[in-house]
């Protein structure tokens, strides 16, 4: 046999050993002398023995060589968890005998001191605080899947996701012998393939965070610091969540400040719109103001004043989908709300149901900005369809004759809260994130008495109500009422009209049709009759008892 033949024969003999053991040999778990990583033995060639022994193992299962860590671990917990994680058991305990950082890699039953390997370092060291790691050692059975309906019934889990005596262990996600996927994952985490085997979030498959191929434009901080992936869809769950070493422990979010998880992308660096910029405006639902108050398990009616992105948005369901009022748009899909009767709803149907979480029964709702004859800060009561008048949020309005309406709006139209309340600016993202105008109004809406009339002063109203018809038409209501007061007397719309509506519990159709509810900072009682009152007398006619700008109406009729 010549040397070449001998060489080939040797290769042939050795090949099966190496080829068959590709998984472990080339992985970081090969701590033997043939290992590729920094942590490896100086002389030991048997890679199994760092963890396993064939005889007298401890603890007994899995032919284990390493010592029990004996540690008491801090466990994962959250206000929404249904599972009951206990102290690590089974194979998780075995993994932790290196990965909790308390025992040196070389510390095994048989001394490998000559090949001494140090403690686990960096990200692989989970420490004994497991509260920032995905929970383990809890029973995952059909009962759990029934309690948390966003979990797959374990009977339908693929073979690659192994449960140990019905329990999730480290080995459910990791295959310590196979580094085909990063971090020895059982399934690739690209597109969150691994996570979605168990976590079946409602409507996730259609959500923007699942399907967007947006990339990071390179400014600010990269949102994808713990994956190699470069698009929103590839990062999936890990856009926001970090299964190990999460900064925000409960729910394993990337960052401790709630809004940072969202605004790292929604600042124009990944998402096309810059919500972060809206937060800096003087009137905003400013999510930076509150920390650690929001809780996903909180009641529908908000008890402690706060606002976070996730109060209005469900990142698992949120998507680009425009709808018609009053239906909730895709961006606020699957969020909590309060319905027209004040009852909690787990998933809103209508946009106003979301606003009612804070602006109806909540004790921490903002007060009414204008002092009026009839005071009401519960907007749910202001928009009720049984009211004498209201802006058409829940349904079509009461007034069947509104000549100023600009098409396509008609008397039967319904509008969104966000038609008036949203970020100012033509190119601003939709929604009431932040505005330069008070009450997060989309356009200027002057309420100060003696404001000279201009299109700009009442730009908000003039979006739907034609300025020309209101001020210059030949109708009585224009010449005798609106022009006279708004232009000649410089009286704002807001002095006579209450833009939300007048609750039927407080007002009636005779005195409070057409959103009439006087601003009592400007309008006072008529000293002659002692009355402060509007009476409708039918189409475009009515009479007022009041005193305003030094003039008594005792009454004035039109």
């Amino acid at each position: 046999m010549n040397r070449k033949k001998l060489f080939l024969t040797l290769i042939f003999i050795l090949c099966p050993i190496f080829l068959l053991a590709q998984g472990l040999i080339n992985s970081k778990h090969n701590l033997s002398v043939s290992g590729q990583s920094l942590a490896k033995s100086g002389g030991e060639s048997d890679m199994c023995r760092f963890c396993h022994t064939t005889h007298i193992s401890r603890p007994k299962p899995a032919q284990w060589r390493r010592n029990d860590t004996g540690q008491n671990y801090i466990l994962y917990n959250s206000s929404t968890i249904q599972a009951l994680p206990g102290q690590p058991t089974g194979s998780s305990l075995l993994c932790l005998s290196c990965h909790d950082g308390t025992i040196a890699l070389s510390s095994s039953e048989t001394s490998l001191a000559a090949n001494s390997l140090s403690m686990m370092r960096n990200k692989a060291n989970l420490t004994t605080d497991l509260s920032d790691d995905h929970p383990i050692s809890f029973t995952y059975n059909s009962t759990l899947a029934l309690r948390n309906t966003e979990l797959t019934d374990p009977a339908f889990l693929p073979h690659s996701i192994e449960l140990e005596n019905q329990k999730v262990q480290c080995t459910s996600c990791h295959d310590p012998h196979n580094q085909t996927y990063d971090y020895f994952l059982s399934v690739s985490y690209q597109y969150s393939e691994l996570c979605i085997q168990c976590h079946q979030m409602d409507n996730w498959n259609f959500s923007a965070h699942k399907i967007s191929n947006a990339t990071w434009k390179g400014f600010g901080r990269s949102p994808w610091f713990h994956t190699p992936y470069k698009t929103v869809e590839e990062n999936g769950c890990e856009n926001c969540h970090n299964p190990h070493g999460a900064e925000s422990h409960d729910r394993l979010l990337n960052f401790i400040r709630e809004e940072d998880n969202c605004l790292i992308c929604h600042n124009g660096s990944v998402a096309s719109t810059d919500i972060r910029a809206m937060q800096n405006k003087p009137f905003a639902h400013n999510v930076y103001t509150y920390n650690q108050i929001h809780d996903p398990a909180e009641e529908n009616i908000v008890r402690i004043k706060h606002v976070e992105c996730s109060d209005c948005h469900n990142p698992h369901s949120s998507k680009k989908l425009r709808t018609r009022p009053p239906l909730a748009e895709g961006s606020i899909k699957d969020v909590k709300g309060v319905d027209t009767n004040g009852n909690p709803v787990e998933k809103i149907r209508f946009q106003y149901e979301l606003c009612y979480r804070c602006h109806s029964e909540s004790a921490v709702k903002p007060g009414s900005p204008t002092s009026r004859q009839i005071e009401q800060s519960n907007v749910r009561l202001e928009f009720d369809l049984g009211n004498p008048s209201y802006h058409p949020i829940e349904g079509s309005g009461k007034n069947t004759n509104v000549p100023s309406l600009i098409l396509p709006r008609t008397e039967s139209s319904i509008i969104y809260c966000t038609n008036c309340h949203s970020s100012d600016g033509v190119r601003s993202p939709a929604g009431p994130h932040g505005s330069i105008y008070p009450h997060i109004l989309k356009f200027r809406y002057e309420t100060t008495d003696f404001t000279p009339e201009s299109y700009q002063s009442y730009e908000l109203c003039y979006q739907c109500h034609n300025r020309g018809i209101i001020l210059n038409s030949m109708e009585t209501y224009s010449q005798k009422i609106h022009r006279k007061h708004i232009v000649d007397e410089n009286t704002p719309c807001n002095v006579c009209h209450d833009p939300h509506g007048i609750s039927s519990a407080q007002g009636n159709a005779l005195n409070h049709s057409y959103l009439i509810n006087f601003d009592i900072r400007v309008v006072s009682e008529d000293p002659v009759t002692g009355k402060l009152e509007f009476n409708t007398l039918g189409k475009f006619t009515g009479s007022c008892y009041l005193r305003c700008h030094g003039k008594n109406h005792s009454p004035e009729t039109y």
Partner: protein, 211 residues
Amino acid sequence: MMKQLFSLVTIAVVFVFMGTSFGQTPGTGITGSDHDFSSSGWSGGEICIVCHTPHHADNTVSDAPLWNHEVTTATFTPYSSSTLNATVGQPDGVSKLCLSCHDGTVAIDNFGGTTNGSNMINGNELIGTDLSDDHPVSFTYDATLASADGGVYDPTTANSGLGSTIDSDMLTDNKLQCSSCHDVHNGPGAADKLLVMSNANSALCLTCHNK
């Protein structure tokens, strides 16, 4: 170039198969091995007789090769694990014969009808009757198991590294036994701890385990 490569490979192979000796020379036969008790007074200077006899052999254990040693009657605690696909019962066949010394319930010198021996096994060689901390034995390892487990090779097709398949070279009646890993007679090819092959680079483990 080929010559240099050849030298490198040769050196590598020498390193790979270089074992450490513990009082016996691997692969040199039973004489002088840890199973050679001929120097002990109780053996009568013989080697084979401690386990075998040409006549009047004990055949209570099926397939026992002309057995001459007292057989253990202990009840064992078998290995178990939530991820184990194999069915492991009480040790049988060859494994039961091995345990007739190594479980520590029967004296090593209880052979040929003697039952009052006093030399009990000890140290690392004492396995005991609790087998839950030992690699499982006496279970059927066939293509069905390989398919169900997914982590071990099909023994009917996988190369044992000993000339043929795992089933042919390492199993007895399709079962894994002590003799699958250990060559009790320290035959040619035997390595440290009477292993049937060297476990350098975990070669023995990886013969079956697809890791």
